[in-house]
């Protein structure tokens, strides 16, 4: 049945109403499911470590620290400065290792290579290792995500 000047019949209207209502119900049920299966990210904004643990590092060596659930790497450079990296290969997320004799970072999963500054120089990695901002504040070594003040 269609009322004069109406764009659709009564059946179409009711089907649309019912269908829309069922669709909205489905979305309202699926949304919490969707939210539930993705836990919040756990990457920290900042990590504070006692500087005394890293003061005696030899140049051209690397120490590990936990950057959330990823391995963080602190490297002491030849001039005595420190650099911090996220020790995860930019190709497919394997943990990298530092080879001091070759002055390179190496990922064993797919033969990825980075130089001592974390720049990708061989194999499949598409980007340099992620860097973290590192500063020495009194007794503390403060490591921050890039862009965090």
């Amino acid at each position: 049945m269609r009322i004069k000047h109406s764009l659709f019949t009564r059946r179409q209207f009711l089907n649309g109403l019912l269908g829309g209502w069922l669709g909205a119900l489905a979305v309202s049920l699926l949304y919490p499911v969707f939210k539930f299966v993705f836990p919040p990210t756990r990457e920290p904004d900042q990590v504070t470590l006692p500087f005394s643990d890293f003061k005696d590092m030899k140049p051209n060596t690397v120490e590990n620290f936990p950057w959330g659930s990823k391995p963080g790497l602190i490297k002491k450079n030849d001039d005595g400065s420190y650099t911090a990296f996220v020790g995860v290969c930019t190709h497919l997320d394997c943990n990298v290792t530092y080879l001091p004799e070759q002055r390179k970072f190496f990922c064993a999963c797919h033969d990825g290579w980075y130089d001592q500054d974390g720049i990708h120089i061989g194999g499949p990695p598409p980007r340099p290792l992620r860097r973290l901002n590192l500063s020495i504040e009194g007794e503390d070594l403060v490591i921050k995500r890039e862009g965090v003040e």
Partner: protein, 358 residues
């Protein structure tokens, strides 16, 4: 006499309520065609045999396995060393997964090459492709559960692969991992996939798959159909089933022999912070993909190498799934070309696998 009468009485009582006799009648009338290529008919039930072994050994392992960051590796070590006959059960479970997936590949390739997926069996093929991916997912999730350094790295790589898919990829990775990174949450999640989600999916799709096969009967190769003669047929029950049983016995014998002489190793517990160990490798059925990821350069033109590999993979999967619709003129040149692709794929996968082992 009285006992027989009771048996008959019970049967008719049950039949009146369940209609089981319809199924028995169907089974006793079912026939299996006999020709040069009938050997491939045995692969399907052999997969079912291996799946049954996986279910039984899986039930047993879950009694002792502990799916937590602290306990997983240790509980597998306990199964291997303390639990009576635990090492055989784990070994059978581990080997049987390989056997099952190998047979799934053989089963699908034989259907591809004999073109058994042609009309009206397109849906049987598609449900079969789903079953292949569920089987691979079983293998992938199961590989993490011992939680040693090899399985951790393989999982990090495997769950990072979807990330290259533009748009939804990041969410898929997060969904699989239960967060940004592979952690104890990932282990719990993979255990859930492996023992509850995937089995439900597999059984549901399997029911559809088996129903379609019963509805349509066995497919016969084109070349045999063209001969025009009436094909020889074998009654399904008991002749064909007895032959299948012989195959099952042989395969079970091989499986248990391999499992007893080559039990799988268990490395030291995974350390989330440790660098990836050298010589990491996924299960053999992922090796050809692994090798592809390794040899693709970081950038091709202006696309990431791994993005390209993943997109190629996706394209391959979609084409594989819709193969019966693409291969719609099986007797013409196009059909023959698609058969050649099957052989090329076998050569390619074998070559990449060998290369990755060098």
């Amino acid at each position: 006499m009285k006992e027989q009468g009771m048996k008959k009485g019970f049967r008719s009582w049950l039949d009146e309520r369940s209609g089981l006799s319809t199924i028995f009648r169907f089974m006793s009338e079912k026939t299996v065609p006999q020709h040069r290529h009938s050997i491939w008919y045995y692969t399907g039930s052999a997969i079912l045999l291996f799946f049954a072994i996986q279910v039984i050994t899986g039930f047993m392992l879950v009694f002792y396995y502990n799916p937590t960051l602290e306990g997983a590796n240790q509980s597998v070590a306990r199964i291997m060393t303390e639990v009576p006959l635990g090492w055989i059960i784990r070994s059978v479970h581990s080997w049987c997964s390989s056997f099952m997936i190998a047979l799934v590949f053989i089963h699908l390739l034989s259907i591809w090459i004999t073109k058994a997926y042609r009309k009206p069996r397109e849906l049987t093929w598609m449900s079969g492709v789903f079953l292949l991916f569920v089987s691979l997912a079983f293998g992938f999730t199961g590989y993490l559960l011992p939680w040693d350094d090899l399985s951790l790295s393989a999982t990090k790589v495997g769950t990072d692969i979807p990330r290259s898919i533009p748009g939804v990829g990041v969410w898929v990775t997060k969904l699989l991992r239960g967060g940004e990174d592979v952690t104890g949450d990932t282990l719990t999640r993979f255990f859930g996939f492996h023992v509850s989600i995937l089995p439900v999916f597999l059984l549901a799709i399997l029911a559809v798959h088996v129903y379609l096969i019963q509805k349509q009967g066995m497919s016969t190769p084109l070349a045999e159909e063209k001969k025009g003669e009436k094909m020889k047929e074998l009654p399904f029950w008991p002749n064909f089933v007895y032959r299948e049983m012989v195959v099952w016995l042989i395969l079970t014998g091989i499986l248990f022999s391999v499992a007893i002489f080559f039990p799988p190793s268990l490395h030291k517990a995974a350390d989330l912070m440790a660098p990836a160990p050298e010589g990491i490798r996924p299960e053999w059925y992922f090796l050809f993909l692994f090798q592809m990821l390794k040899i693709f350069p970081a950038k091709i033109l202006f696309i990431n190498g791994d993005t390209l590999v993943v997109l190629l993979m996706l394209l391959g999967i979609v084409a594989f799934f819709f193969l019966p619709l693409i291969d719609n003129r099986p007797e013409e040149r196009k059909g023959k070309f698609i058969t050649v692709i099957a052989f090329l794929f076998i050569v390619y996968a074998a070559a990449m696998t060998v290369w990755s082992l060098l």
